[in-house]
């Protein structure tokens, strides 16, 4: 991973929004466009927005593409193509336009709604429906797709190949009309053009077109997870749907539980039985799981919880993103319960961070909570294949026929004691949520409690975050501190600021707890101004870092709740207003 900032990322990318009512095919068009972007050798990121409806209803696809990896949406869109204008106002805030943007719409669809028109964007009216009607079996979304792809500069062959790949299963009667529509969109005279097009991509290395939830599943399998128990919850459900068939391919099992209380305790059982285990959930599910996770901490049973954050509290905003579960991940336990909290920084990093979390949890015999969010989880991205996480030593197991086996022995300086899988000869012990002595026998003696608390704390203190605890890029006396999905916007903002002659560094934290304090102090050393950027209302990271007494100099926070993403321009403005 590069420690360089890209000063001009915005100018190397193009952003497209496609909107339409239910059944208009906006999402299909977006998915095909992302595939074509990948085929043509570019990177891309595609987020989706929909209301909390079951089916139908309007949806918006937001796609950004460029020659470098894309980890956040831009401040504005170059193209908005509306398949119709029904209920598009619901997305108006999510699709910022400028007077340089280009709105493409069908004159027959009616007037452009005021909250779209107010930006003063250029308008190009094209008869999408009429063109589609001219082709047997044609659809307006495919016409639109051809128009966008041509404007962006995607070779027509790459676009047509996607149709072949996606629709071949449905036969020629599906492929041919769609390809004709796309070609029609390419050839349709366009009175307006974009100010730039994508350059020719030089080569086409192997890339993945993947969502964050799928990437987390990849990381879990790479990390060695072979048992997953989970309960459906938006926006984490795709992780269990992806893992169900894919775990089976590697000899693993997925079990759908009857609720989150069951799923977390199932994985405790699975791990107690010797199989690395994980569950996937979102905020309300994590809330229900806390008691079980306390058992995992106390009984020193390694488990991993992938928590895909959504707007909270309570049912909150299930279909939209927010980084507001840091507090529960850090502090949700009752009692003193040291454990691991990690956060993926982008879609590609979902694989790395989840894999790393499995290795750490197994090595330390504790709970690892991995935070991603709805945006990372449900957006798709064209990425370079994710790197492997540093392998851990694995779970320290008791040897059969050990003399005087003590499950929770204090003998090891690092606090990690050998775990006996049931059936290990001569290694009987009580695994208990009650406080216990070294043998595992429940004990309420003050000394046992203190020693075991110390032991569990000591294990965590020994975590070596190495170079992976954070992504630190750039230099300068302005410092942006951030975590999770806000990192993409932070890196881009720092690149722009540095290009303006205001050198800025970014520290995007991956290992949030235990936070490696000396590397953190080194990373922010010399910063005169520090801006803590996160997508929640309270400034949860800001307060956490203060509680660790890590922040010095002038410190401010840019804490903005979901569901709107933090855009790079907002961070740039916050810094420029400050200095």
């Amino acid at each position: 991973m590069s420690d360089k900032l890209d000063p001009g990322q915005s100018s190397h990318t193009l952003s497209v929004a496609i909107t339409g009512s239910g059944g208009s095919g906006a999402v299909t068009a977006g998915e095909m466009l992302l595939s074509a972007v990948a085929n043509a050798g570019f990177y891309g990121l595609m987020g989706r927005s929909a209301g909390p409806q079951i089916r139908g209803g309007e949806s918006a696809v937001m796609l950004r593409t460029g020659v470098h990896p894309v980890d956040c949406l831009d401040d504005r869109f170059d193209i908005l193509i509306a398949l119709d204008w029904l209920n598009v106002s619901r997305f108006a805030e999510e699709i910022p336009l400028t007077c340089d943007s280009l709105i493409i719409c069908d004159p027959d669809a009616g007037e452009i709604p005021p909250d779209i028109a107010r930006h003063g964007a250029r308008v190009m009216e094209l008869p999408l429906e009429a063109l589609a009607k001219g082709i047997e079996g044609g659809r307006a979304n495919m016409i639109a797709l051809g128009i966008i792809a041509e404007l962006l500069g995607i070779p027509e062959a790459a676009m047509l190949a996607v149709v072949d790949a996606k629709l071949a299963r449905k036969g020629e009667s599906a492929v041919v009309p769609s390809q004709r529509c796309i070609s029609c969109g390419y050839n349709e005279p366009k009175p307006q053009q974009l100010q730039q097009r994508l350059p020719h991509a030089k080569d086409r290395p192997v890339r993945w077109n993947i969502s964050g939830n799928e990437a987390s599943g990849v990381g879990a399998i790479r990390g060695g997870v072979r048992f997953v128990a989970a309960y459906p919850i938006t926006p984490a459900t795709e992780m269990l749907e992806w893992l169900a068939p894919n775990l089976e391919k590697v000899g693993g099992v997925l079990l759908q539980a009857e609720d989150e209380l069951a799923s977390v305790n199932m994985i405790i059982g699975g791990s107690f039985g010797g199989v690395p285990s994980m569950t996937a959930t979102s905020g309300p599910g994590l809330s229900l799981m806390m008691e079980g996770l306390g058992l995992a901490v106390t009984s020193e049973t390694p488990v991993v919880v992938a928590n895909v954050m959504r707007g909270g509290p309570s049912t909150g905003i299930p279909t939209k993103s927010e980084q507001s579960d840091l507090n529960i991940a850090l502090y949700g336990f009752h009692g003193d319960a040291p454990h691991l909290v990690l956060a993926a920084l982008n879609i590609r990093d979902c694989a790395f961070t989840t894999e790393w979390a499995v290795h750490l949890a197994e090595a330390l015999q504790t709970v690892a909570i991995v935070l991603s969010d709805q945006f990372l989880g449900q957006a798709r991205s064209v990425i370079d294949p994710p790197p492997a996480a540093p392998a851990g030593p694995g779970r320290k197991l008791a040897q059969p026929a050990a003399e005087n086996y003590q499950r929770y022995t204090l003998a090891d300086a690092d606090g990690i004691s050998p775990m006996a899988i049931p059936g290990t000869e001569g290694c009987l012990y009580t695994a208990d949520g009650l406080e216990h002595n070294e043998r595992g026998t429940p004990s309420s003696m003050p000394q046992d409690h203190l020693l075991q608390l110390d032991k569990r704390r000591r294990k965590l203190a020994a975590v070596d975050g190495g170079e992976h605890w954070a992504e630190v890029r750039g230099s300068g006396d302005i410092c942006i501190l951030t975590w999770g999905s806000s990192s993409g916007a932070a890196f881009e903002a720092a690149g722009r600021l540095s290009a303006m002659g205001k050198p800025t560094r970014v520290v995007a934290i991956r290992l949030l707890s235990p936070l490696p304090e000396q590397p953190m102090r080194d990373a922010i050393d010399g910063a005169a101004r520090t801006l803590v950027v996160e997508q929640n209302h309270a400034g949860q990271l800001f307060h956490y870092l203060h509680s660790l007494n890590l922040l010095h100099g002038e410190v401010r926070k840019l804490a903005k709740p979901g569901p709107l993403p933090i855009r790079p321009g907002e961070i740039v403005n916050a810094i420029l207003e400050w200095i």
Binding site: G51, Q53, P232, T234, T237, P284
Partner: protein, 339 residues
């Protein structure tokens, strides 16, 4: 044991073949709530349920009937699920009764709390309903529901059973029938679909709690549904009604087939309509025109695989389940039966 009202229904709608028409054949006070201008419209138009949604239909009839039975003195607690989602976001807010969303697994507990508060306030005229889908009832809400039954709290719990988690994209629930495909049950392999003989019948579990009233109903026979709700509201204590509500999206059926599928489910024996009181089954709806499970299943893509020759045994197993229900509950009409 309280005296229960006799059925008011004088004309039986099996004669019309559709079960849904026929208000005009009835005395005005025997017509459905929907036929009167005084209906409460408690679940109003403008919500965003899918076309052909059985749950929207069942909820409207059930709640309006409960409103009539309680003189509009009704409070509802609603579990997370399709019903909650498609009736609440602005501007599709469709409820016109006091209504609280109770999270996913807690509707019956919240309702128990409301009932307790009404008791404290001495408001015996105000009644409480809890409602949810099969996921919120048979899985995550099962513990709370059992508690409500056990305490005999004055709550009517209505479960709209569409046999999977539809809100999150059609995952299996413990009400998913054998062989049915969902997003989390086997798409291929030796036994595609949900495994056999693992179903959880919450109506029978509810009867085992010996509560005053339990019933199953189906949206193809809305008179029967209304009568059961009306009867339930005339009883104090814990009551449970489960309504069979086809889901075109999750079942892969045509929106126009919702009523037909609901009827076939009952007429093939897969979904018996029963009533139970204080631990005993007290009534069953007899099947006058029996159809096969194949007739029922072929209207739904979730069962498409059972029609492949190599999976013929699955169709036979499904038919065996229906036959067992028919035998167990003595469902087939014979001349002289009270229907």
């Amino acid at each position: 044991m309280p005296q229960l009202p006799e059925s008011k229904q004088k004309v039986k709608f099996y004669q019309t073949g559709t079960f849904t028409v026929g208000n005009r054949l009835l005395e005005s006070d025997h017509r459905t709530v929907q036929a009167t201008i005084d209906r409460s419209n408690s679940l109003d138009s403008g919500h965003r349920a899918c076309q052909g949604c059985g749950e929207a239909l069942g909820a409207r009839f059930a709640i309006d009937a409960a409103m009539r039975a309680t003189n509009n003195q009704l409070i509802a607690a609603n579990a997370t699920g399709c019903l909650e989602v498609f009736t609440t976001p602005y501007p599709e807010t469709a409820w016109s009764i006091p209504w609280i969303h109770s999270l996913f697994g807690n509707a019956s507990a919240v309702a128990s709390g409301i009932a307790a508060a009404l008791k404290v306030k001495g408001r015996s005229d105000v009644r409480v309903i809890a409602q949810g889908g099969d996921g919120g009832t048979t899985d995550i809400g099962f513990g709370c529901l059992s508690g409500t039954f056990d305490r005999n709290d004055d709550v009517l719990y209505i479960c709209y059973n569409n046999q999977a988690y539809m809100n999150t994209g059609v995952q299996r629930s413990s009400a998913t029938p054998a062989a049915a495909r969902t997003a989390t049950t086997q798409p291929v392999g030796e036994e595609p679909g949900n495994v056999f003989n693992t179903g959880k019948s919450v109506p029978l579990v509810a009867i085992a709690h010996q509560i005053p009233y339990v019933a199953t109903a189906s949206v193809h026979d809305l008179h029967d549904l209304e009568l059961k709700v009306t009867k339930a509201m005339q009883i104090r204590g814990a009551r449970y009604i489960e309504i069979f509500v086809p889901c075109p999206l999750g079942w892969g059926s045509l929106p126009g087939d919702t009523i037909k599928i609901a009827r076939y489910a009952v007429e093939c024996g897969m979904y018996p309509l029963i009533e139970g009181e204080y631990g005993e089954i007290t009534a069953v709806t007899k099947i006058r025109r029996r159809v096969t499970v194949a007739d029922y299943a072929k209207l739904q893509k979730r069962f498409a695989h059972v029609f492949k020759p190599e999976n013929a045994y699955q169709l036979e197993q499904l038919q065996a389940i229906a036959d067992r229900n028919i035998k167990r509950f003595d469902l087939v009409y014979r001349e002289g039966d009270e229907s």
